[in-house]
Amino acid sequence: MTAQDLDALYQEIILDHYKHPHGKGLREADPDHSAEVHHVNPTCGDEVTLRVHLADGVVEDVSYDSVGCSISQASASVLHDLVVGKSVDEAMAIHQEFLTLMQGKGTVEPDEDVLEDGIAFAGVAKFPARVKCALLSWMAWKDATAQVVAGDGDKA
């Protein structure tokens, strides 16, 4: 990659989220409506422990503890911003949008209205080795959310 690509990858927004992550730390949550997952990136060992708390179909909180590179840390922070307070359906749609962006090999134009700071990850999509970093917490979130939904279903 060139110096220019480097700057496309490490957008200021990403470095800001990295240095000042939003919502980091694991918070207590009502055990009936929450789930915790632990995901790792087997290639590099980056890890995230992530808790999702849902209430009445709304994402009440996403709290997480993680070790990893700037991309993986910043993307957890952006995830927190984007999904907390949204309905599960809306949040899943945002997840899908982010996934599409990341898997687009740099050809997908991100929608700022949906992805907000997440558009800064458009540059990451060009680096296959880093896509996994950006998706680590997002995949963990989806997994945890599915678990809560399934658990709630059991009780219904």
């Binding site: 790792v40 087997p42 290639t43 080795a129």
Partner: protein
Amino acid sequence: MSLEGLLPELAVIRKDFPILERTLAGGMPLVYLDSANTSQKPQVVIDTMVDHLERHNANIARAMHQLGAESTEAFEAARDKVAAFIGAPERDEVIFTKNASEALNLVANTLAWAGPRRVGEGDEVVITEMEHHSNIVPWQLLTQRTGATLRWFGLTDEGRLDLSNIDQLINERTKVVSLTWVSNMLGTINPIAEITRKAHAVGAIVVVDASQAAPQLPIDLAAMPADERPDLVAFTGHKVVGPTGIGVLWGSRAVLDELPPFLGGGEMIETVRMEGSTYAGIPHKFEAGTPPIVEAIGLGAAVDYLGHVGMDAIHRHEQAITAYALEGLQSVKGLTVLGPLDAASRGGAISFELDGVHPHDIAQVLDSRGVAVRAGHHCAKPAHARFGVQSSTRMSSYLYTEPREIDALVEALEYTRSYFKLD
């Protein structure tokens, strides 16, 4: 000489294979009729490997620099190509091994250890009498080691599977049925769909050795009805114009997920602590260590090449050559073909006996005329024993084989008869 069904661009295709220009001792041109043993390689496969080694070589997955990204991308693109070649329902169901033998052993070895498919005492594994040793010995080892029972289909005099006792053989104790799609000795094409249906009906999994099928039959796994689709399919790179050192195990995600790990090490893990480890998902779970990277990339180029020529066209070509060869061979006095005589329902490997001359001696005389065939048991001793012979001579063609090479074989066989002073 032009036969119905030959590849229209045969002369051009032959030019793609540099070895076909080789002359042998005594100035003899090469007549290569040993493709069921290993196929020759087109220039594009060799060039792709060279380009990788000279310009993109790096380890994969773990390396995140530019060379690493290029290498990883080429390796994973090869997986996509192989998945397309066999119509795999999912690309991650394609596992790279070192050859077909490792692929078959991977299955037989892991079935000993854990999981819902585990084979134990009282269980039965069914194979056939026409299997290659690589689809016999792994199952002998598994059943001996676990106390299970090995059973097998016998063969008819014509060289087909004897299915008369299929309902006894495949029963509620059967855990695995493993069989070859196309026999490397007899050429027989087996009724995979029918046997798979029976096996699935009793809850057994089906393993298909496609080592001889992949080179010559179009395969579309996704298009098969689920109850007729085998659960695991193995083939080997060097028989589909790819390099040695690479093989393929395709397995349905459901069954692969049920198998415990095979080899342990780098790339197949999720996390490792001294006290214990967790494993990655497929395909990586079964790809421990640095995989055969340049070999997978070469295989990708190989199946692309076959795809461009067209597997339907290759299959027609093989059938045309096989029919022509069956006819030519049977014109030789004292020659008996082992296996089906109908070219339309068989593969292109033709094993035969010649009264009064041992296969080794035949192969030797043929070699002095530049004609390369195989002599021996072709790693199928039980099938030879079934026909009361200890070895045979085998010719096998491929997409680059011309009718005049069959003529050369027939002439060389006549010469063999005269050399050994048969009437």
